[in-house]
């Protein structure tokens, strides 16, 4: 289902399933129609960098909902023909971590920002030759205009692209004949604000004379 970004969450706006809003510096996907239901709650699902990457690939490659997912050891890829895409989270590195004070007395806030580099592997697998035939489409998806637009919305940046496909078909033996892995990195930007007290309103212990 195509997502529609609606900007900052508003209590007067009516949202339908698959609308995306920004609230408190986090992105949320509407799971059902709702009005005046501030995220986070059961009407909304928080979006992560890895799920945004799944969305870009799904939209550009036309992959069905039940054929692209974030790696979970409990889930076994069905033994049916056709392409499955599994995106695996490998590691994350902190590139920068800053804290600064903004605002003035009575409205001061600490502003925390974090930039991370997340290393992911995109696995294409199929019992037939779909994975081998369609593996190049991943790069087209990641470099498309749609991908650029999504990166701008979600504060992510697809970094270095792998220069090759790793053929890991042998890992699956005869159970899964074609499997290719593509390593990519993703920069993600996070922000959080907390109200803080002005310095002269701190609670101090009084020294008894």
């Amino acid at each position: 289902m195509t997502r529609l970004y609606k900007g900052l969450w508003s209590e007067v706006e009516s949202y339908v399933a698959n609308d995306v809003v920004l609230n408190d510096y986090k992105f949320y996907l509407a799971l059902q129609n709702n009005t005046n239901s501030e995220p986070a709650n059961g009407n909304w699902e928080a979006l992560t960098a890895i799920s945004n990457l799944c969305y870009i690939i799904q939209e550009k490659m036309g992959i069905a909902n039940d054929r692209i997912f974030i790696y979970n050891q409990d889930f076994k890829v069905p033994q049916v023909k056709g392409l499955f895409i599994v995106i695996q989270y490998n590691s994350s590195e902190v590139i920068s971590n800053t804290a600064r004070i903004v605002g003035e007395e009575d409205s001061m806030k600490e502003e925390l920002t974090l930039l991370t580099k997340e290393n992911l592997t995109i696995n294409l697998m199929s019992k037939d030759d779909s994975a081998r035939l369609r593996k190049e489409e991943v790069f087209f998806a990641l470099s498309s205009t749609f991908a650029e637009q999504q990166q701008e919305i979600y504060n992510i940046k697809i970094a270095e692209l792998s220069s090759s496909f790793t053929n890991v078909s042998e890992l699956e033996g005869e159970g899964m004949l074609n499997r290719f892995a593509i390593d990519i990195s993703l920069f993600s930007w996070f922000k959080k604000e907390n109200p803080i007290e002005f310095y002269d309103t701190f609670t101090n212990n009084t020294i008894a004379e």
Partner: protein
């Protein structure tokens, strides 16, 4: 047809109503989420016999193994996860003795 005994009669004298919850995964918004399906059937559930345990790998013999005998096939395959009495088990073996009137499943205690 064959020389093996038909077990159905004995099984009918022993079997009880058993309720298992089969836990499968479905994909929603790129995440896998568990879905529970109740399996209610008649059968016999008991610890794995020492003889059968002996042919399991040495390191797994101390795990909690159970065996299920049913007259009719139930919707369980090897690697399926199930819940029985609030504990999670994994199906490790399925034996089709339908010509002799029964099916046998081996399950082992698993992590949630």
């Amino acid at each position: 047809m064959n020389n093996f005994p038909q077990i159905q009669t004995a099984l009918r004298g022993w079997q009880n109503k058993i309720t298992l919850i089969k836990v499968t995964q479905v994909i929603q918004n790129f995440k896998t989420i568990p879905v529970e399906q109740y399996l209610i059937f008649k059968g016999v559930i008991q610890p794995l016999s020492g003889e059968k345990l002996n042919i399991k790998p040495l390191e797994s013999r101390s795990w909690q193994w159970l065996q299920i005998h049913t007259e009719k096939e139930i919707e369980l395959e090897v690697n399926d996860k199930i819940k029985y009495r609030n504990k999670t088990f994994k199906v490790m073996d399925k034996k089709d003795y339908s010509l002799n009137g029964y099916f046998e499943y081996h399950i082992v205690k698993s992590y949630d």
